[in-house]
């Protein structure tokens, strides 16, 4: 087995539409190492979600190679955790039951893991609360705990903090980095936010639309914990921005970061 957990080669995805075929992804090449944190950034419609869905096994209509741990991706499964922009909790289940989902809390091993995860995502005291009683940030933390309970090899996050305010978002980024450093889970993180991409990623994948393709992959060689105000951070941020300016689409969300 190679050191790469995720291998994508010559990946294409075309959607049929009334106005003719839409080429959503064109010749995507991407390799992600075991335990690596990769952020994907690009303007709306460049195929970020499409790529994530393919890796998550939710979209199998692709051409080319997409392999996880050496096996082609043919469908969803617990080895691939997915976190969406919305928490997608089951409204009729309490927080702890949402995390356990189809696993039984009566099983002592599950019970112990769920309690640990509740601690990890800082939701102690809310085990018995229903989703309607949670704030957006809390609900998203439940979704993260739910994905982590299955100990996935790779965690796919599609703009998970997009709907949160700047403070909650910064806090959630810290929580996610904590989790990543403790569990060494491979992370594939889609965002619209330049600062978020540079703050979290060891590698930033820059995508452009029409058709969706990878423009550049930029390594971010900054040690964790990172500071958003440091000179090197700003320099790297500028580099990512430059990569976009070389492209034709400057329609990027620049202001939402902290």
């Amino acid at each position: 087995m190679s050191e790469h957990s995720l291998v994508i080669e010559h990946l294409n995805r075309t959607f049929a539409s009334p106005a003719g075929p839409v080429h959503a992804l064109s010749n995507i090449q991407l390799k992600v190492k075991q335990g690596e944190f990769v952020t994907l950034i690009g303007p709306s419609g460049c195929g970020k979600s499409t790529l994530l869905k393919i890796v998550g096994g939710l979209d199998t209509g692709y051409e080319g190679k997409a392999e996880l741990n050496g096996r082609p991706i043919t469908g969803p499964g617990i080895e691939k955790g997915v976190i969406f922009q919305e928490p997608r909790l089951f409204p009729w289940l309490t927080v702890e039951k949402n995390i356990a989902a189809n696993l039984s809390l009566k099983n002592p091993a599950v019970r112990r893991r769920v309690d640990e995860l509740i601690e990890l995502v800082r939701l102690k005291g809310f085990e018995k609360a229903y989703p309607r009683e949670l704030s957006g940030g809390m609900a998203q933390r439940v979704a993260i705990a739910r994905a982590l309970l299955r100990s996935p090899d790779v965690l796919l996050l599609d703009e998970p903090f997009g709907a949160l305010d700047a403070f909650t978002r910064a806090h959630m980024q810290e929580v996610l980095l904590d989790i990543w450093q403790n569990n060494k889970t491979t992370m594939l993180f889609v965002t619209h936010d330049l600062d978020e991409a540079v703050f979290l990623g060891e590698k930033v994948v820059i995508m452009n639309p029409r058709p969706g393709h990878i423009r550049e992959i930029l390594p971010i060689d900054l040690p964790f914990p990172r500071s958003r105000t440091g000179a090197s951070f700003q320099e790297l941020r500028r580099l990512v921005l430059q990569a976009f300016e070389k492209g034709e689409e400057p329609a990027l969300d620049l202001g939402a970061g902290i």
């Binding site: 998550g56 096994g57 939710l58 469908g75 969803p76 499964g77 617990i78 691939k80 955790g81 997915v82 969406f84 919305e86 997608r88 089951f90 409204p91 009729w92 289940l93 989902a101 189809n102 102690k124 005291g125 809310f126 018995k128 609360a129 229903y130 989703p131 309607r132 009683e133 739910r146 299955r150």
Partner: protein, 284 residues
């Protein structure tokens, strides 16, 4: 401490009722001197008094409209003799068996059609067509086919219970959020788990609504079925009393129907309260 925070978040006070009652108080004037819970009963009480006086002064005959006191007296008499319970028991059993039969079949058919596309295409159109036939118009047919025996009545009632449960179950299942469906695929739910842990809970609000409607339809069909001919039941009691112009007994029967109807509604409502408390929009 953690428990405390938890409590605080969960127990949001319902401010809406407080506001309305304050607003009420300002605009009510003399009504303020009457206890709050009595406000809605004022009109019926006044009407009852007028009714009683009209009967006592001979304005209406007791064959047309017996007085409230006379009806109450007859109610107690029938209750004491045990006749009331006998009829009530027979009626309740009929309604309940018809309701159970109809709603269980409605639930199963609704689930199968809701889940399977093929059955929907082939079976649903016929069911939709059948639904538009007024149920009560089928009663003569039922009598022709199955007679006026117990079986025929239960069947009629179950047909009445079937459609609301079937339609609402189907709707509930079709309203399952595809985003949550994707989540169950990612979390590795089996087909059975998807059914019991996603589809049924999602459809539960609709299913309960269907059951509630089925309950009132069962009751309605029961009244018709019993008026058509039988030897026991509330409907029989009413019909029998009518032939002998015992109008007070007719009233007792009507009141009983109303009472049991609202009691069963309260029961389903209590179930909803218990099972749907997780709903954002559910306000009991």
């Amino acid at each position: 401490m953690a428990q405390l925070i938890h409590q605080e978040v969960r127990g949001e006070p319902d401010t809406s009722t407080v506001k309305t009652s304050l607003k009420y108080r300002k605009e009510l004037g003399w009504l303020n001197r009457v206890p709050f819970w009595l406000h809605g009963l004022l009109v019926p009480i006044v009407l009852l008094i007028i009714w009683q006086i009209a009967g006592d002064t001979g304005l209406v005959t007791k064959e047309q409209l017996p007085t409230p006191l006379a009806i109450m007296k007859r109610f107690i008499e029938l209750g004491a003799s045990g006749e009331l319970y006998h009829h009530l028991g027979v009626s309740a059993l009929r309604a309940l068996s018809g309701f159970m039969l109809g709603s269980v079949i409605g639930l199963l058919v609704g689930m199968f059609i809701g889940i399977g596309k093929i059955i929907e295409r082939t079976l649903d159109p016929s069911l939709q067509m059948l639904r538009t036939v007024p149920l009560l118009a089928l009663i003569p047919l039922f009598i022709l086919w199955f007679g006026i025996g117990e079986f025929s009545k239960v069947l009629m009632i179950s047909l009445g219970a079937f459609f609301p449960v079937y339609l609402n179950t189907f709707l509930g299942i079709r309203s399952v959020d595809t985003k949550l469906y994707d989540v169950t695929r990612i979390l590795g739910y089996s087909r059975w788990q998807q059914l019991t842990k996603l589809i049924l809970p999602s459809a539960l609000p609709n299913i309960l609504l269907g059951l509630r409607l089925a309950m009132s339809t069962s009751w309605l069909v029961l009244v018709f079925a019993e008026l058509m001919g039988t030897s026991a039941g509330i409907g029989y009691m009413i019909e029998d009393a009518r032939t002998y112009s015992n109008t007070d007994i007719v009233f007792v029967g009507i009141i009983l129907f109303a009472l049991v109807g609202s009691l069963s509604d309260i029961a389903v409502h209590a179930l909803e309260k218990r099972w749907l408390s997780w709903q954002d929009t559910f306000k009991g």
